[in-house]
C-alpha cells in the first residue's frame, strides 16, 4: 500500500497538471471541433513531459536541487530574473484561472454563481497549503482526482465507433471548415497545456519536499511513467467524449458544464456526480500546484527557505509569497474575467516560455558535478534534444499564430 501511495506525487502532478481548468476546456473544445485529429499534440506533449519531468525529478533527487535553483545558477542572475518574471506571470495567471475553475465546478454542483465561491476557494487553497502536510495533500487530491476515470467508463458506455475514432486520431487532417493556422493554434494550446512549466516546478520541488534519496530513483520513474501518461489518457478520453457527443451535432464547447454533459448522458446522476467531483479535485490540485509553484520559483531564485517540510515560521518569505499570490489571484478572478479564456491564453503564453524552463534542466542533467553517474543516457539525450528543437519552434510560432487566428476564433 505504501508503495502504491508512493506514486501519488506523479498522479497529483499529472491530474492537476494535465486536467486543469484550461486543459479540460481545451480538450473538450478541440474534441468537438476537430474530433480526434489533434490527439497527436497530446501524445507529443506527454512524451515530452515524461522525458523532462523524469530528468527534473532525477536532478532533484540526486542533487536536492529543484528546477528554479538550477535556472538561476546556470543561466545567471539577469537572464534568470527575466525567466523568473515570465514564469511567475504565467504561474500567477494560471492560479487565478484555477481558483475560478474550482468555483465553476462548485457552481455546477450548487447552481450558486461561481463568483460567490471564489473567496472561499481562495481561502481553502491557502488553508491546505498552510496546514496540510505535503504527503497528505498529494494522497488526498491525487486519489480524489482519480474520479475522472469515470470519463473512460462513460466513453465505453456510449458505444462509440472505435475504428472511426482511431482513424481520426491516426490520420490527422485539418477538419473541413477550419483554417490550418487555427488547427495549429489548438495543437500548440494542447501541447503547451501538457508541458506546462509549473508541472516541473512542482514535481521537482515535491521530490525535495518528500526528501527523495538516490534509492528513490525508481519511485521517480514510476511516478513519471504512470502519472503523466494517465493524465494524457484522461485528456484524450475527454476529447473523445466530446468528439462522439458534440461533433456530429456541430456543437461548439464554451463552458465547463458542456464538458460534463457527455458523462451525464452516458452514466446518469452517478456519472455526473463523479465527474463534477473529479473536476473539483483536478482544478483544486492545479490551484495548489500553481499556488505553491509561485512560492517555489521566487524563493528558489533568491535562495530563501521554501517548502512545506518546515514550519511556516521557518519559511516566512515563501509563505508570504504564496499568500500574496493567492490574494492577487482571487482579486483577478473576481473581476469576472472569463476563466476559460484566461487559461487558454495562459497555456499558449506558457508555450512561448517553454525553452526557458526546460533548457537548464537538460544542461544540468548532463553535468557529472551534480549528477555523478546518474547523468542522462545517450538515449534520453537524443530524445530531449529533439524536444528542445520542438520547444524552440513552438515558442517562436506561438505569438504569430495567436495573432493570425485571433486566438483560435
Amino acid at each position: 500500500m505504501k508503495k502504491l501511495l508512493g506514486v501519488t506525487l506523479g498522479i497529483l502532478t499529472a491530474i492537476g497538471g494535465f486536467l486543469d481548468i484550461g486543459d479540460i476546456v481545451t480538450a473538450a473544445v478541440t474534441g468537438a471541433r476537430f474530433r480526434m485529429s489533434l490527439a497527436w499534440a497530446v501524445a507529443l506533449g506527454v512524451v515530452g513531459i515524461v522525458i523532462y519531468a523524469e530528468m527534473a525529478g532525477r536532478v532533484a533527487t540526486v542533487s536536492h536541487r529543484p528546477v528554479f535553483d538550477l535556472v538561476r545558477e546556470r543561466v545567471g542572475a539577469r537572464l534568470g530574473l527575466a525567466n523568473l518574471l515570465a514564469s511567475y506571470l504565467v504561474t500567477f495567471l494560471t492560479l487565478a484561472a484555477e481558483v475560478a475553475g474550482v468555483a465553476l465546478a462548485l457552481q455546477l454542483a450548487s447552481d450558486v454563481n461561481y463568483l460567490l465561491w471564489i473567496p472561499l476557494v481562495g481561502f481553502l487553497v491557502w488553508l491546505v497549503i498552510w496546514r496540510v502536510k505535503f504527503e497528505t495533500m498529494e494522497n488526498v487530491f491525487g486519489l480524489i482526482g482519480l474520479a475522472l476515470i469515470v470519463m473512460a467508463v462513460a466513453l465505453w458506455q456510449l458505444h462509440p465507433d472505435w475504428s472511426s475514432l482511431w482513424h481520426s486520431a491516426s490520420h490527422p487532417e485539418v477538419t473541413s471548415g477550419e483554417g490550418t493556422p487555427t488547427y495549429f493554434y489548438y495543437a500548440i494550446a494542447l501541447f503547451g497545456a501538457t508541458m506546462t512549466p509549473y508541472e516541473v516546478f512542482f514535481f521537482s520541488s515535491g521530490a525535495v519536499e518528500e526528501r527523495w534519496q538516490r534509492n528513490d530513483l525508481m519511485l521517480n520513474r514510476a511516478n513519471v511513467y504512470l502519472g503523466f501518461p494517465l493524465g494524457g489518457l484522461l485528456t484524450l478520453t475527454l476529447m473523445a467524449l466530446t468528439a462522439v457527443v458534440f461533433a456530429p451535432m456541430n456543437i461548439t464547447v464554451e463552458h465547463l458544464s458542456q464538458a460534463a454533459l457527455p458523462t451525464s448522458l452516458a452514466l446518469g446522476k452517478v456519472g455526473l456526480a463523479l465527474i463534477i467531483i473529479g473536476f473539483f479535485a483536478a482544478t483544486f490540485s492545479a490551484a495548489l500546484e500553481t499556488g505553491l509553484s509561485a512560492g517555489y520559483t521566487i524563493s528558489q531564485y533568491f535562495g530563501w527557505q521554501w517548502g512545506k517540510f518546515v514550519r511556516p515560521l521557518g519559511a516566512a518569505r515563501f509563505h508570504a509569497v504564496v499568500l500574496i499570490s493567492l490574494v492577487g489571484a482571487v482579486l483577478l478572478a473576481l473581476t469576472a474575467i472569463d476563466p476559460v479564456k484566461l487559461t487558454e491564453y495562459t497555456v499558449v503564453l506558457a508555450a512561448a516560455a517553454l525553452p526557458l524552463t526546460y533548457f537548464p534542466i537538460l544542461v544540468v542533467a548532463n553535468d557529472p558535478d551534480f549528477m555523478g553517474d546518474k547523468v542522462n543516457s545517450r538515449f534520453s539525450n537524443a530524445i530531449a534534444s529533439i524536444y528542445m528543437v520542438i520547444l524552440v519552434v513552438v515558442s517562436l510560432a506561438t505569438i504569430p499564430l495567436m495573432i493570425a487566428t485571433k486566438a483560435g476564433a
Partner: protein, 113 residues
C-alpha cells in the same frame, strides 16, 4: 573588490589590443587561513576569451558528455580561452582591465580545475 566588478570586463593587452572579456575567475586554495574554513581562496587568474555561453553553462567542460547538439552549438570555442595570471594584470578600471603582456605570453601555464 567584488567578483561582479571583474566579470564581463573588457581585457586589453600591453599594446592596447582587445583580447576579450572576463568569463570567470580562477581560484586556488592556498591563501592565509580563514576562520574554521582553512586556507583562503586566492585569485589565481582571469579566464578571458572571445566569449562562449558554453563556458558559463558548464557545457564546455570535457567531463560533460552531452547532449551532442548543445556541445556542437556552444562548446566549440573553449580552445580560444586564455588564462591571464593575476600578476600580469596591470590595471583594473570600470569594466575594463589591462594586462601587462601580449596574448601569447599572457597565457600562463596555470593548471585548470
Amino acid at each position: 573588490m567584488r567578483l561582479s566588478e571583474l566579470l564581463d570586463s573588457d581585457v586589453t593587452d600591453r599594446n592596447g589590443q582587445r583580447i576579450g572579456h572576463v568569463h570567470d575567475v580562477q581560484l586556488v586554495q592556498d591563501g592565509p587561513p580563514l576562520g574554521t574554513w582553512g586556507a583562503a581562496f586566492r585569485l589565481e587568474g582571469l579566464v578571458v576569451g572571445p566569449g562562449s555561453i558554453g563556458t558559463r553553462l558548464g557545457i564546455a567542460r570535457p567531463e560533460v558528455k552531452g547532449p551532442w547538439i548543445l556541445k556542437l552549438l556552444f562548446a566549440r570555442r573553449r580552445s580560444s580561452r586564455i588564462l591571464i595570471p593575476w600578476d600580469r594584470v596591470r590595471d583594473i578600471g570600470d569594466k575594463h582591465i589591462s594586462a601587462d603582456c601580449v596574448a601569447d605570453e599572457c597565457q600562463g601555464a596555470l593548471e585548470r580545475p
